[in-house]
């Protein structure tokens, strides 16, 4: 990054998990509905700084950016997000449990 030398191209490949596919779908749908453009997606990614690129996975950065863009686009408020995340986290300890609305 920023001119740092990079090593060999990594050859590991993983199958996308359901939550990653959902993030991808939310990006497509959010931009198709006019809440943001791919430039908006990029802008938030660029704002994250170097640490985010060291510590977060690809789709973790994407959901952070999609969310920021949706809030800025007026889809919902920060308060609504916080309340919903709280509710989701209480549903269970795993993604499978938490993804099931009660």
């Amino acid at each position: 990054m920023g001119g740092d030398a990079a090593g060999p191209v990594p050859t590991d490949q993983h199958d996308f998990s359901l939550w990653e596919k959902r993030v991808d779908a939310l990006m497509i749908i959010g931009s198709a509905k006019g809440y943001f453009t791919v430039d908006g997606l990029r802008r938030v990614l660029e704002d994250m700084g170097k640490d985010a690129f060291e510590s977060m996975t690809y789709y973790e950065r994407w959901i952070a950016s999609v969310n920021q863009n949706l809030i800025e686009g007026g889809a919902y408020t920060t308060a609504e997000l916080a309340e919903k995340m709280d509710e989701v986290a209480k549903r269970g300890a795993t993604y499978g449990d938490a993804a099931q609305a009660t």
């Binding site: 191209v9 590991d12 749908i29 990029r42 919902y76 795993t94 499978g96 449990d97």
Partner: protein, 211 residues
């Protein structure tokens, strides 16, 4: 909610997907919350989200391989493809969306390779989601600086007389490489030819397979 699935079977009797029974992360929590908020606000529906995932899952390099095989066998189509790849592939029935797609033909003299230095722009409508390495910092930074060394890591060693052209994708402009048709394939059908066209050969980090 009672946890009655200690044997890791869902209520339907199927095993949970692997990513479903790992501890919930902060970003997964956000994904669930964002998705549900969009549904509650009437911006999208669970069916639309599922349909979008299905559409994306259905896209694979096999689509691009059909395009390449046709370009190898149909000179008029090849000309259309090189002139306007979006229109030519749309005419074949592929959902290209608003994508500005550009086809690059590899020959004995010129080898094209595609990268997105910024992030991960890729002809996803035609090839599906990009492989992990395409999104890696190493590939993105080194392909523009030392393309021949990167190609060698992929097992592609080109003669010094071959010009290597690196194309940097953007949000508005995506590339697909038309690999050179391998020798000894004169008698193969379009269907047989398509089987020789790999994902990497359409990114430029590979060559078409030999029959």
């Amino acid at each position: 909610m009672p946890h009655d699935h200690h044997d890791h079977l869902s209520p339907s009797g199927h095993p949970y997907r692997e990513d479903d029974d790992t501890p919930l992360s902060y970003w997964q929590t956000m994904e669930i919350a964002v998705r549900e908020l969009l549904v509650e606000k009437g911006i999208t529906t669970p069916a639309d989200i599922a349909a979008q995932i299905e559409t994306m899952d259905a896209r694979s390099p096999a689509n691009g391989a059909q395009v390449v095989a046709r370009a190898w066998t149909d000179p008029a189509f090849r000309a259309e493809l090189l002139a306007d790849a979006s229109a030519a592939t749309r005419d074949m029935g592929f959902d290209i969306g608003p994508l500005n797609l550009i086809a690059l033909e590899n020959t004995a003299d010129v080898h094209n390779v595609v990268v997105c230095t910024l992030c991960s722009c890729y002809p996803r409508n035609l090839l599906g989601l990009p492989p992990d390495w395409y999104k890696s910092r190493a590939y993105r930074s080194r392909t523009v600086r030392e393309p021949r060394a990167v190609l060698a890591e992929f097992g592609v060693t080109l003669p010094d007389t071959t010009t290597v052209r690196v194309h940097d994708s953007t949000a508005d402009m995506r590339y697909i490489v038309i690999p050179a048709r391998p020798e000894g394939t004169e008698n193969l059908s379009e269907h047989e030819l398509a089987a020789l066209v790999t994902r990497d050969s359409m990114i430029g980090t590979g060559l078409a397979k030999l029959p």
